[in-house]
Amino acid sequence: MEHGGRRGATPSRQRTVETDDFRADYAAALDAYLRGADERALDRAHELGRRAVEEELTLLELAASYHEPLLVAMRAAPDAGSAADLARTASEFYTESLTILETARRAMSEARDSAHAERRNAALLRQLSTFLADPSLALSTLDSVEEVLTLVVEQAREILGADCAQATVQLGDRLPITAASRADGERAWAGYLSDELRPPGPESRPQGDWITAPITALDGHHLGSMELVEKTEGEFTDLDQAVLAHIAEMASAAIERAQLYHERR
């Protein structure tokens, strides 16, 4: 955005002008508050805090805007007691202006963390897809199915932030192959999986928060399923369910490929 009076100013010059404007406005508002500490004057502190965020002022710049007029006011105070009162009153104003800056900073930090987690989860999904699409998988024996399942539950648990992940498949007449990944410690899922790994049925399904996705062959027949139990933070969402379904599909394709190759040998 370009302001009429600042047209052609270099970015650093413009920033200095903005900071100077901010300091002048902050000093005037603080002075008004010190003369009569009312709600309206305090609202002005809130507005200045918001403006500091918009103009991307640092905490140090905001502190400087506060300290300079406060020192002027304290020097003009008739005695030490009045100066102390001024400092107490001014700190209310400062805290109000600081609150919104701190809130904005926390929100930005959370957004950054969230963006980092999303990037990391996307990388985990991409890598899982690469592993499962590797041509070497088609040359493996059925032992690889267990590794596929283990890899899939470990990645799924991490990507979706669950306490426990389990996957089971039944290939022909063979015994079911099951893999699980669990967080450390005693958690809600402990009773569900502690004795033996088994395909979940209505009687063995966990209480509380869990999601499931089928592992299905290309011709539609049921190979098994994947379950995630207890979201670490919050509850599972529809998006979590969709991601789990996607992971289960990747696992289905890899397992079926390994199985087809094994049968043709």
Binding site: R120, L128, D134, L139, S140, D143, S144, E154, E158, S181
Partner: protein, 202 residues
Amino acid sequence: MTSASQTNRSPLQRRVATAIVEAAAEVFAARADGGSLHEVAELAGVGRATLYRYFANREALLAELADVAAAKVADRLGSARLDGVAVEEGLRRAVAAFVDVGAYFVVLAREGVRSSPERLEATIKKPLRGLFERGERTGSIRSDIPAALLSELLVAQVVVALSARPELGREDAVATVTSMFLEGARAGGASNDTSPRPPARE
């Protein structure tokens, strides 16, 4: 490049282990203070549980990384045929081989001293020492510095060049290390050198 522990793994397990070891080489080489296993898992694109299932601890991961690195170095040095060329060309080829191995070489040189000095000796130092000893005999390498120390110095220079930021390109890294090293190691180099020198101390 298959290490001993890789031979017992299925193709999928080899694929996963390789991704983890590659990431470990990058992370450990980039950070002189080590770098965490969480960073390795993140760069490899695997869950932490997966990393710990493959490598129970940092030492296990470093041991396999050193295996792979040593195999890569041995393979490159073998192709370089150091014995069949003049010493200076051999030195350039050795440096090029180390630079090509990249992050693996940095970790092997840095960590190998602590975790597997024998392997470091066999894969890197011995061939280099042989090259320098030949150079001393033929008069192309100064003989007042022991060949073992020259080997150590060359390895250190390659590590520095590979760790430089901004990164040096392959050719720049090879040329920089080779020329810097030869200027100091060449026999009679000091007396023939007419470049300006700092004033001698009183």
